[in-house]
C-alpha cells in the first residue's frame, strides 16, 4: 500500500501538499476502508454463518428470514442494536464502563495493520510484524478486565478475571509456537514469512518438520482459548456466569465485544494461514499484477476462512472444559510441548540449515493421511446420522 502511495506522490498527485499530512490522511483512509468494507461485513457475515452452521449441527434451522438464507441477519441485528437505549447501570463506574468496549475493539482492530492479504495488499509490513500482533492484542485483556470491574457485578468481575487469566496463560503456548516459525523463517515480518514459503503444500511451514506440524495445532488451540471460544469459553459460561464480563452491557456496546470476538476468529485464521499455510502464495499462473493480486486475495481469504469454519465446528461439537482442566491443559501439556517444538526446530535448523525437502514431503503425506482418516470418520458419521434435515440446503 505504501508503494502505491509513493508512486502516486511521485506522479505528482499531491503536489505542494505537506507529505506528513498526506501520509496521515492515507492511514486514516486505510483504516476507514478496512473497517467499513472488510472487517464489519466479515464479522457480521461470520456471526450469521456461525448461527447457521451451529443450528445445522444441532438439527435446527437457524436465522433464515432476513434476505436470502438469512444472510442479511447481521445488518438487522446491527441496526437493532444501534437503535437500542444505551443503558449504563447506576452502580457501574461510568467512565470505565463506557471506555472498555473501545479498548477491546482497538486491540482487535489494530491487528489488521499487519495482516497480508496479498503481496501488495498489506497496510504496513512492519519489521516486527508478529511481535506487534502479540503486543497489540494484549490491549484486549486490559479492556476485558476494565469491563469486568466497572460493571460492578460479581458475574462480570469473575468473568473478566477468568478471561484475563486464560488469555495471559494461553499467550505463552501461542507465542512459543509462533516463535517456532520465526526461527524457521528467520524474520518477524509477515511478508517475509510468507515469501520464505512456497505455494505448494510441502513448502509450507506446516510441513517444515514434525515440530512445526505440532506447533500449528498448539497455536490453533491456544488461539481459540485466547479468543474465549468454546470449548474454552469459561469467561462467559452461561450456566455459571450469565454472560461473564458482558453481563451488564447492552445495545451497541455489547455488539462491540462480539464484533471483536467474531472478527478475531478471522484474525486467528489469517495468522495461522500466514505462518503455517503459505499465506497468499499462488502457483505462477499469471503475470498480470491485478489479476495475480485478486487471486492471492482469494487464496488467502479462503485459507483463513477455512479455520473460521473449523472454529465454528469445534464450538458446535465440544463441551466446555472446567477452569482447572483449562489451566492444567495449558501449563502441564501445551507449554512443555511448545518448548519441545521450539527446541526441536532449533536443532533441526542446526542439522539441516536449508530445511529437509524429503522430511517436508513425508510430513505432507502424513498430513494428507490424517486428513483422509478424518474425512472417512466424518462421512461415516454423516451416513449413519440420517442426514435428511441437515444436508438439505434450502430450509
Amino acid at each position: 500500500m505504501q508503494q502505491l502511495l509513493n508512486q502516486l506522490i511521485q506522479e505528482g498527485y499531491f503536489h505542494g501538499a505537506p507529505m506528513e499530512l498526506v501520509y496521515a490522511g492515507f492511514m486514516l483512509l486505510a483504516a476507514f476502508v478496512v473497517l467499513s468494507f472488510f472487517v464489519a461485513p466479515l464479522a457480521g457475515i461470520t456471526s450469521w454463518l456461525e448461527r447457521r452452521v451451529w443450528a445445522r449441527i444441532q438439527s435446527r434451522v437457524g436465522p433464515n428470514r432476513v434476505g436470502p438464507q438469512g444472510i442479511l441477519q447481521w445488518l438487522a441485528d446491527g441496526i437493532k442494536n444501534l437503535l437500542k437505549e444505551d443503558i449504563i447501570p447506576t452502580a457501574a463506574d461510568r467512565r470505565l464502563f463506557a471506555l472498555a468496549p473501545y479498548v477491546v475493539f482497538a486491540g482487535f482492530f489494530a491487528t489488521f495493520v499487519v495482516i497480508p492479504f496479498g503481496s501488495q495488499l498489506i497496510v504496513a509490513d512492519l519489521n516486527i510484524g508478529i511481535l506487534y500482533l502479540l503486543a497489540i492484542t494484549s490491549l484486549v485483556v486490559v479492556g476485558i478486565l476494565m469491563a469486568g470491574w466497572s460493571s460492578n457485578n460479581k458475574w462480570s468481575l469473575l468473568g473478566g478475571m477468568r478471561s484475563a487469566a486464560q488469555i495471559v496463560s494461553y499467550e505463552i503456548p501461542a507465542g512459543l509456537s509462533l516463535l517456532t516459525i520465526v526461527f524457521a523463517a528467520g524474520t518477524m515480518s509477515m511478508q517475509g514469512i510468507i515469501t520464505a514459503q512456497g505455494w505448494a503444500p510441502w513448502n509450507w511451514f506446516l510441513f517444515y518438520n514434525p515440530f512445526t506440524f505440532v506447533a500449528f495445532f498448539l497455536y490453533f488451540t491456544a488461539a481459540l482459548a485466547e479468543g474465549n471460544r468454546t470449548p474454552f469459553d469459561i469467561p462467559e459460561a452461561e450456566s455459571e456466569l450469565v454472560a461473564g464480563y458482558v453481563t451488564e452491557y447492552s445495545g451497541m456496546r455489547f455488539l462491540f465485544f462480539f464484533f471483536a470476538e467474531w472478527g478475531n476468529l478471522y484474525v486467528i485464521g489469517a495468522i495461522a494461514t500466514t505462518l503455517f499455510l503459505g499465506g497468499w502464495q499462488i502457483p505462477p499462473v499469471t503475470d498480470h499484477p491485478i489479476l495475480a493480486g485478486v487471486l492471492q486475495f482469494i487464496v488467502f481469504f479462503l485459507k483463513a476462512y477455512l479455520w473460521v469454519f473449523v472454529a465454528m465446528w469445534v464450538r458446535g461439537t465440544l463441551p466446555r472444559v472446567r477452569v482447572d482442566q483449562l489451566m492444567s491443559l495449558c501449563w502441564k501439556y501445551m507449554v512443555p510441548l511448545a518448548f519441545i517444538c521450539l527446541l526441536g526446530t532449533a536443532a533441526w535448523m542446526v542439522i539441516w540449515p536449508q530445511g529437509n525437502r524429503l522430511a517436508s514431503f513425508f510430513m505432507f503425506l502424513i498430513g494428507l493421511g490424517i486428513l483422509g482418516l478424518f474425512l472417512k470418520r466424518v462421512s461415516f458419521q454423516i451416513r449413519h446420522a440420517r442426514p435428511v434435515l441437515y444436508l438439505k440446503p434450502y430450509i
Binding site: P18, E20, L21, A24, D93, L96, V103, L126, N127, I128, L131, Y132, L134, A135, I136, T137, S138, L139, V141, V142, L145, M146, W149, L157, M161, A164, A165, V168, E171, M188
Partner: protein
C-alpha cells in the same frame, strides 16, 4: 505544517498525564488503568526514537504482563479502595525536606549530564542487531538477567507451594 512534532507532544502529554493520574488519583483502580496510557505513551516514544523492537516488547511486557498483574492484585485485594493510603506516622515537613533534596539532586544530575543528541534517527530494523549483541557483546548481562528471572520463577513456585501445604 509538520505533523510529527504534534504527534510527539500528544504522546508525551498522554504519558505524563496518565503518569500524573496514576500518582494523584484517589481511586487505586483508576491509577492502575491509567498505567495503560503511560506504558502506551512510552512505547510511542520508543517508536519516535526508531526502536521498533523495544516498542513492541514494551507493549507486550508492560501492558500484556505487568499491567494485567497489577490489575489482578488490585482487584483481588479485599476492600483495597477503603484502605487509608496516606501514611500518618511521618509528618509533612520531613517529607517536604526529603522531596526537596531529591528534586535538587535530580535537577543537578540532569544539568550536569552531557546529553548526547542524535543527529538523525535512522528508521531501520533493529531486531537482528539486538539479537547479535545479546549473544556476543552483552552475553554476561543477558545471562545474569535470565538467572535472576529463573530465581524469581522458582521463588514464586516455592511461595505458592507453601500456601497450599498449610
Amino acid at each position: 505544517m509538520q505533523l510529527s512534532p504534534v504527534i510527539f507532544y500528544l504522546i508525551a502529554a498522554l504519558t505524563v498525564g496518565s503518569a500524573a493520574m496514576v500518582a494523584f488519583s484517589r481511586n487505586i483502580v483508576y491509577s492502575a488503568f491509567s498505567l495503560l496510557g503511560t506504558f502506551g505513551g512510552v512505547a510511542g516514544i520508543y517508536v519516535f526514537l526508531g526502536a521498533d523492537f523495544v516498542a513492541g516488547v514494551q507493549v507486550l511486557i508492560y501492558v500484556g504482563g505487568i499491567l494485567v498483574l497489577i490489575l489482578f492484585a488490585v482487584m483481588l485485594t479485599h476492600r483495597i479502595a477503603d484502605v487509608q493510603i496516606t501514611n500518618r506516622s511521618v509528618g509533612r515537613i520531613p517529607a517536604l525536606v526529603v522531596i526537596g533534596i531529591f528534586i535538587f539532586l535530580l535537577i543537578q544530575s540532569i544539568r550536569e549530564t552531557p546529553w548526547a543528541k542524535a543527529k538523525e534517527i535512522v528508521y531501520a530494523p533493529t531486531t537482528t542487531i539486538i539479537g547479535e549483541w545479546f549473544l556476543e557483546r552483552y552475553l554476561l548481562p543477558f545471562e545474569l538477567a535470565s538467572v535472576v528471572l529463573l530465581a524469581a520463577l522458582i521463588g514464586a513456585v516455592v511461595l505458592a507451594r507453601k500456601e497450599t501445604r498449610e
